[in-house]
Structure formats: C-alpha cells, structure tokens
C-alpha cells in the first residue's frame, strides 16, 4: 500500500522526538494508511463511528478537566482524573490547533482495565480515526473504549 507524500510527512511528525518524546506510532511498522484502515474496520465491526467513540472519551475528558485534578466518578466502577501538564501539542495531521498536554487516567475497577488518553487523543480519534500505533503510550483499542464506556455504564 503506497503512501501519499502528505501521509509520509504526517508520519515524520509522528516519529519519536518530533512532537513528543515517544511519538505516536509505538512499535507499529505499518504505514499510516494501514493503521487507519485496520482501526476503521475494527470500529465498523463494533457498529460505532470514530465520532461516537471520541464523543464518549470527550465526556470523560471534560468532566475530569473540570475537576481540576480531583478524581471524578465517571460511572459504575469507573473513575477518571486529569493531570495537567505545562504546554500544548499540535495535531500531527497539520491542520492547526494546539492541544493541552495533560492526560486522563480512566480506571475500571470491575475489569481492572486502565485507559490513558489526552485531549489530542480525542481529537485524533474524532477527526482522523487515528487511535495511534500499536505500543504507543496513548494507543487505545476501539473495543476498549466501547467496553468501558458502553451505554448504561457512564454517569456523565
């Protein structure tokens, strides 16, 4: 699968040490279009859209950010806390916009699952269908979002 020069440029920005120390691709060796395609199929198999999954994360993000560092109850067995960090980071897809560098830790006491995501993660999923490469610090499996934040579970 051949990448366009624009996709190659985006992948350069996603490499470690360019916009953030570890980059966005983890140990994933697939071209960007391959990563996007695989996650598009995974999301379709869930019967959901990128926008819906991003919307679920956005609700948790907003509640956690509003709590200013306090842990919030996001649903049955679910807690979330937003850790603010200095600075902003741009979207590697290059259409502008800077996102706060803080991160949300979403914990599910029932399954023991933890999800780590950032304001940029939510944007990347909603606007670009990009869940980051396998092994990336903020990679989220679409199925994990759907499982943790399924209807009836959250209280936000």
């Amino acid at each position: 699968m051949r990448q366009s020069p624009q996709e190659s440029r985006i992948m350069e920005l996603m490499a470690p040490g360019v916009l953030c120390r570890e980059g966005f691709l983890g140990h994933d060796r697939r071209p960007l279009v391959g990563i996007l395609d695989a996650d598009r199929l995974a999301v379709a198999a869930l019967g959901l859209s990128h926008e819906e999954l991003a919307g679920l994360l956005q609700e948790v993000l907003s509640a956690a950010m509003d709590a200013l560092g306090r842990t919030v109850e996001a649903g049955r067995g679910l807690t979330a806390v937003y850790r603010e960090a200095m600075g902003r980071i741009p979207c590697p897809f290059g259409h502008g916009g800077m996102f706060p560098k803080g991160q949300v830790e979403l914990s599910d006491a029932i399954s023991g699952m933890n999800i780590l995501f950032t304001p940029l993660s939510v944007h990347l999923i909603g606007a670009h269908g990009f869940y980051q490469g396998l092994g990336a610090r903020y990679r989220i499996e679409p199925a994990d979002i759907a499982e943790i934040l399924k209807p009836g579970r959250t209280r936000l």
């Binding site: 490499a15 040490g17 360019v18 509003d66 937003y82 603010e84 960090a85 200095m86 290059g94 800077m98």
Partner: protein
C-alpha cells in the same frame, strides 16, 4: 501501474532536488532586516528563516519547537518584504493576525530586504550560557535547577519573568528545542538563576531535564521574557498558584522581603497531596516574620490528620477566604484549568479583569 510508479519516483526526485538546490545553491545575497523603523538594522545572508536570521542578529523571538512550525509562538509583524502567507503558516494564524501582517517567523524565508516590528522588550532579550550547579528534587515530579551564569555573568530581570531554556537534540530528537520556565530566583542573587520545573509525561524537554541533564553540565538560554510582574500599586493582593506555578511567587516574596516592600499579600498555594507540596516550611516561616504576608496552602486530595493547611481545590479555598476584592489585585500562575476557574471566582468577589494578572502554563 509502472508508469504511475515512474511518475511518483520522478516527482519525488525533482522535489528532493529542489530542496537541495534551495538549501545549497540558491544565493539570495545579503539582506537587510529593518527592525522598528530603523531602530536596529540587521544584515544577514538570505536563505535562512526569519526566526533564525533575527536570532543571528541578536533578536530572540520566543519559540518552543526549534523552528519546525508546530508551536506557533514565534509570531512577528512583518511590514514589508515577504510574499503571501504560506500554507504552513495559515493554520496557525487567525484572520485578524493575517490582516495585521503577523507571520510565523520560522516558516518565512528571508530572500530580500524586510521591515519588521518587534516589541521593545524583546530587543532587550539576550542569550546566556551557564553551568548547572545544583539539581534538587522538590517533589516526586518537580525539580529545582540552580544555574551559575558564565556569559554574560549576570542577568537583569523582574520577578515573574521567564527564560527559554535550550534543550539540545538527544535520543530520537534531531533538533534542539526551547521551553519557557519562570525564574524562581531573585534579581539580587547576582550571577545565578533558579528554575522550578515539573515533569511533563512523555515530554521531550522535561524528560531531558529529568533524566539527562546533570550537575556540572553547560546550558544555554535566552531571556528574560514576559510581562507578568507585580504592579507599582500598593493595594492589597492575592496570589494563587498550583504546582510549579510556585516559581514566580517564590521569587517575588523573597524580593519583597529583601527590599522591604510591605504590600499586604495572601498567597494561596494548591497541591493534590502532601507529597506534591514544597517550600511550606520556608513560606510559613516568612508568614511568621512578615506581618503583611499570609500563606494558605491547600490539598485537594487525601490529607493526613496532621495536615494543618486548608482542604479542597484551591479555587474553593479562595472562595471561602476572600470576601471582597474590588480594590485588590490578583496574581495567578499555573495550569489553564485552575486559572480559568480561579478567575471566575475572583470576578464574583469584585476583582476587575484589569486587576487580574496571570501566567498561564499553555
């Protein structure tokens, strides 16, 4: 299929050739950059970005990304000599900024004579080198750096201002970058600066500061920058900070003590847990020594029974302690969430926007 591949290879090769030719063969000759209507004129060899050309001429525009066109900090008003706004600048400029001739200086090449307008305070910014003499853990994720200046040997600044520390290329990063940190030392500590820095998870620069930088190592920085400093008024003031937002206030309070400035001041400092606090003993000692100074630390998370400070979010604590502020000033430093929430509270107490000063970490 083969013809498409051949076309792709040819196009890519031509593009690469153009980049190489631009870099090594294009000769734009000597160009003049007229700064602030001939207040300063810089002669540079054309071809560099405006950001780097100004830097070569001793004018240091704040920039965090090292000229990659991703931070959008290096905005400069260009009055003449540049073509239209380029596609790499467009997303980082508002319509008003474009209409006001603001440009992203790292994305503009100097190819002929230019005229620019730069705030006077930036013309006083210098480049410094120093040696790290002490790195101290203040909390689990906050360090204090004490740096001995070598060239120039001293720096003039006002408490509240910041410097831009250069982080060299290391690990996977291929270019140096700059990050802004408030000065926590006092101007009287001649020949030294101190910085209070909080680790950003996965951050390129703070990871270097926390894991690579060692005592005895040379560092470079530019500064001082910023207009966050105490006004000349003598009215009562409140300070609100969280985490490494302590830095400017740690400088201010010590300078006030040294200079005998007895302006009434209440300092609200917020942290999540006890282990996230620092300088508590020093500030409580100052509170006992200085009758005009009140220090109110607060924990928003779990607090031990022996915690004698306040409990709750710092904004809630401010809400409980401050009744009326229409004649007072407020100074805030910390994350955007805390600052935005605090400003809402302050407005309800009568603080007017022109008396609320803040240094927002974004």
């Amino acid at each position: 299929m083969i013809s498409t591949l051949v076309a792709c290879v040819l196009t890519s090769s031509l593009a690469a050739l153009l980049v190489v030719a631009e870099r090594y063969l294009a000769n734009y000759g000597s160009c003049r950059i007229d700064v602030n209507a001939a207040a300063k004129v810089i002669e540079v060899q054309g071809g560099d970005s405006l950001l780097m050309a100004l830097r070569a001429g001793g004018i240091f525009i704040p920039s965090a990304c090292g000229g990659r066109g991703t931070c959008a900090y290096c905005k400069v008003k260009v009055l003449s000599g540049l073509g239209p706004v380029g596609p790499t600048e467009q997303p980082m400029l508002s319509g008003d900024e474009i209409a006001s001739d603001i440009r992203i200086s790292c994305q503009c090449k100097v190819r002929n004579d230019l005229a620019v307008e730069i705030p006077r305070t930036l013309l006083e910014v210098k480049a410094y080198t120093g040696v790290v003499r002490q790195i101290r853990d203040l909390t689990r994720d906050i360090k204090e750096l004490r740096i001995r200046l070598t060239d120039p040997p001293t720096i003039d600044f006002v408490p509240g201002q910041y410097v831009q520390l250069e982080v060299p290329a290391y690990g996977d990063s291929r270019e140096s970058m700059f990050r802004a940190y408030s000065l926590s030392s006092t101007p009287s500590d001649e020949g030294w600066i101190e910085l209070i820095i909080r680790l950003v998870p996965g951050g390129i620069c703070t990871t270097w500061l926390f894991t690579v930088l060692a005592e005895g190592q040379k560092v470079t920085f530019t500064g001082p920058f910023g207009s966050f400093h105490l006004s000349q008024e003598n009215t009562e003031m409140i300070w609100i900070a969280g985490g490494s937002g302590m830095a400017p206030f740690w400088s201010m309070i010590r300078q006030m003590k040294q200079t005998g400035n007895a302006r009434p001041c209440t300092y609200f400092f917020g942290a999540v847990e006890r282990r996230d606090t620092f300088f508590l003993d020093e500030l409580r000692t100052m509170e006992r020594q200085l009758e005009w100074f009140t220090f109110i630390p607060a924990l928003s998370g779990e607090a031990d029974d022996d915690w004698t400070g306040e409990r709750g979010l710092i904004t809630e604590v401010v809400d409980r302690h401050v009744s009326e502020g229409s004649a007072a000033e407020a100074y805030l430093c910390g994350g955007p969430g805390m600052i935005d929430a605090a400003i809402k509270i302050l407005r309800t107490k009568g603080f007017t926007d022109d008396r609320i000063y803040f240094d927002k970490f974004e």
